[in-house]
Amino acid sequence: MNGLLMALLILVAVSALGVVFAPQTIYSALSLVVTVGLLAVIFLVLNAQFLFAVQLIVYAGAVMVLFVFIIALLDPASEERARLTDPRLVLGVLAIAGICAAVFIAARNGVTYDTSCTHQAVSCMHGYRVGSGGGAADPYHTFGFPAAQVNAAGNVQTVANQLFHTYVLPFEITSLLLLVAAIGAVYLTRRTSTATGRGGAARPARPAPDDLPRESAEAPRETGERPLVTGGR
């Protein structure tokens, strides 16, 4: 099992590099498909069957199709490769190194939960002891996957149970978010009347001069083009 996981992790890392360094956009997209697919498998290995399915359906299915679709639609030209001396590239590589080192060090030395931890030390924050002697207090010395134990009731059932009881409000809020995003996307991509060249007739007639105050009161809600912040008088 561990070997499989290890292999998956390495593959994911490689395909992620492909996303960033692929010369053409479509290759990046395909690399990303591979990456999310591999991640889905990793989820499965980690006993997250439900997420495995969601990852495949939403990411590999919907999102990536959307990406590919847009690439086909817009046909972006391939850009220049970043030069090796680009400070941003240097910075990015350094960031990779830094983050990886930080995570690795933190994970190796342990961030442990310690009930005896009070507010005496700087490294002691809200019950979590950070720092020396990490591994000793680790309740799971060996990293295993007691699948049968955890998911006796079934992973999907457990997740659904939590999702629709404890987390029902956030769940509903995310659904609302999706709705808003959908409406926003429709709004953004609609064909505007000016773009179709139907001329001034499409725009509302200019109000009579004596009507101006009312217009100014109403204006912000009518059009999206008005600047958000304007002077008062």
Binding site: V20, L32, V58
Partner: protein
């Protein structure tokens, strides 16, 4: 094994960051952001497994939903930008400078 999951997640995230930094194509930038989001999901699921708790998976689920919403709006914006005749290059979108 757990530390390696974290390590990989960190790596994925960093690569995403790198993509945002060095690529000028907004589509690729988006994909890099997706990478970062996925890296976070990996951490969440990893901890979920490590601590025998489903809550990490719940959050990962939420992240996926948000990511989907973000892609929808982001790609919508891109088509909009493309339609008004702009080249697809993040460095051209510099109205913030004014």
């Amino acid at each position: 094994m757990f530390p390696y999951i974290l390590l990989t997640a960190g790596f994925l995230f960093a690569v995403g960051v790198l993509g945002v930094l060095i690529r000028r194509n907004p589509l690729v930038v988006f994909m890099s952001i997706e990478l970062m989001l996925n890296a976070v999901n990996l951490v969440l699921v990893g901890y979920s497994s490590y601590l025998n708790s489903e809550e990490g998976q719940i959050f990962a689920f939420m992240v996926i939903v948000v990511a989907a919403a973000e892609v929808v709006v982001g790609l919508g914006l891109l088509t909009r930008v493309f339609r008004i005749g702009r080249e697809l290059d993040v460095d051209d979108l510099d109205e913030m400078q004014q």
